[in-house]
Each structure stands twice: as structure tokens, then as C-alpha cells.
């Protein structure tokens, strides 16, 4: 049956990319800050980036940069980072799961018209990371 709702995930040839709960809503909020005439183009470009990532295409530090620290697990020494799918001025913060093999989770999107990563975004990614990586939530 054809669904009238977007799907939560996309399975490429190498990775599955999953929108966390509320991620698509945050995209719709973020895109509203962009000129309306460019909405479709921005969405297309985000889709194309997700497909490249999911199909194992190499991503550049420029368009898929490391952004902030993920929460530390007990006994973990090395700090792991989350990344951003970047299409200026939209960013989709994501991380590669350790609990779910070959799976990237997109925590949320922001309209980033500022330089420094906000603490609120680090906290939001951390909260989603804990729900999924530690508490066993699906998305």
C-alpha cells in the first residue's frame, strides 16, 4: 500500500540513513527560513547528499564536516564526533551508530546562520544519541 507519509529511512547500498523522531519536522522549520523559491532545490540537494552517503560515496570534510562531540560512554577515552550534512544554510546533524550496523541517524536539521555550533544543538544530538544508542529506541 502506498503511504501518504514520508518514510523514516532510506537504505542505500552501504548504509541505512534514518530520520530520528522529529527530524523531518525540524527540516520543515529550517527550510522555512530559506527563500520559498529555493525550497524544492534545497530539498533535492539534501536528498542527493543522503543518497551519496547511503551508497557509500566518499564525502568531503567541506560538505560533511565533523561538528561536535557525542556523549561519552563509560570507560570510553576517545571522544567521538557527530557530523553535519551541509547545504548552506541548512545542516542536518548525524552520527554513525554503534548499536545498529551501517546506520546513520540524522538527529535534526537547523538553519545555521551563525558561526559557532550551538550548545542546544549538541544537547539535542546527545539526547537522540542516548535514546538510540543506550536506551534502545528505534529512532
Amino acid at each position: 500500500m502506498i503511504s501518504d507519509k514520508p518514510k523514516d529511512s532510506y537504505k542505500g547500498t552501504k548504509y541505512t540513513v534514518i530520520h530520528c523522531e522529529g527530524a523531518l519536522d525540524s527540516y520543515n522549520t529550517a527550510i522555512n527560513s530559506v527563500d520559498r523559491r529555493r525550497h524544492k532545490s534545497f530539498t533535492r540537494q539534501m536528498i542527493i547528499q543522503i543518497e551519496r552517503l547511503a551508497n557509500g560515496g566518499r564525502m568531503t570534510n567541506e560538505n560533511f564536516p565533523q561538528e561536535g562531540d557525542l556523549p561519552k560512554r563509560k570507560g570510553q577515552h576517545h571522544i567521538k564526533k557527530f557530523r553535519a550534512l551541509k547545504r548552506i544554510p541548512i545542516r542536518g546533524y548525524c552520527w554513525l551508530s554503534e548499536q545498529h550496523k551501517d546506520t546513520y541517524y540524522i538527529s535534526h536539521y537547523v538553519h545555521k546562520d551563525y558561526d559557532k555550533l550551538k550548545d542546544s544543538d549538541i544537547k539535542k544530538v546527545g539526547k537522540n544519541w542516548s535514546r538510540i544508542e543506550e536506551n534502545g529506541d528505534e529512532r
Binding site: 514520508p6 523514516d8 523531518l24 536528498i47 568531503t60
Partner: protein, 138 residues
């Protein structure tokens, strides 16, 4: 399936113009991203690339962000300046019309389920069913 389904309902139908825009932006993104990957691997900055090309830094930034159209000439110049040789491959996607012509292709024909094929195409007469054949011929 495409990642479009993560942003749009499955029932959403895209116009031919929208599909064309997707194809265009996909090519632009993947080519510019591949160039950026090569630059990162070779440790060539945009500033250095601009110097090698004899162009401004902003020209390089615009071309590699997709904001400015990259001509094949510019792509060739970029590749030459970093000692890379681009490879371009065309993959022809089969269309419904294209499938009709596969009828002449013995391998394709034998790979299909014959009954499904006959039912699928109204202009094919099933010669194994003689009465029906004679009726249609009449």
C-alpha cells in the same frame, strides 16, 4: 526506492521537469563532490587551485559549490591542473518503449516469462491458441 521518500510521501508524483531537475542537481553535486574529494586527497586548497587555473578564488568556490555552472572545459582544466583524468560513463536506462525493442533480442525474450509477456502487450497474438488466433486474424 530513493531518499525522496524521506521527505515526500510515497504517493507524491514528480513532474518530468522536477525529475529532470533532480537528475541535473545529482550530476552537479556528485561531480563537484568528486572534485573536492580529489582536492582533499591531494592536499590542494581552493586558493592553490585558483592559482593553477589563473582564476579568482571566488570563481573556484562558486564552481565547486554548484552555484556557477561548470563547463566541460573548466572540468577539464581542473583535472589537468591536479593531474587527474576524468572518466564519463553513460548508462542507458530502459524505458517501456525500449522494452518493446527487446523483443528482437533472443536472450531478453527467453529471460521473460512468456505468458506474462503476452498478457502485458496487447499487440502480441498468442499463436499457441489457434482459435483465438484465427478470431483475431479474421
Amino acid at each position: 526506492m530513493s531518499a525522496k521518500d524521506m521527505f515526500y510521501p510515497e504517493s507524491k508524483e514528480f513532474s518530468s521537469a522536477e525529475e529532470r531537475a533532480f537528475a541535473r542537481e545529482e550530476l552537479v553535486y556528485n561531480v563537484t563532490e568528486d572534485v573536492l574529494v580529489a582536492l582533499e586527497d591531494l592536499d590542494v586548497t581552493k586558493k592553490e587551485l585558483a592559482r593553477r587555473l589563473g582564476k579568482s578564488r571566488s570563481f573556484v568556490t562558486q564552481v565547486l559549490s554548484g552555484a556557477r555552472n561548470m563547463t566541460l572545459g573548466t572540468l577539464s582544466d581542473i583535472c589537468f591542473s591536479i593531474g587527474a583524468k576524468p572518466k564519463i560513463t553513460f548508462t542507458i536506462e530502459s524505458s517501456e518503449q525500449g522494452r518493446d525493442f527487446h523483443w528482437e533480442n533472443e536472450n531478453t525474450y527467453t529471460d521473460l516469462k512468456r505468458d506474462d509477456f503476452i498478457q502485458q502487450y496487447e499487440n502480441i497474438i498468442d499463436c499457441r491458441d489457434h482459435p483465438a488466433w484465427e478470431n483475431q486474424a479474421a
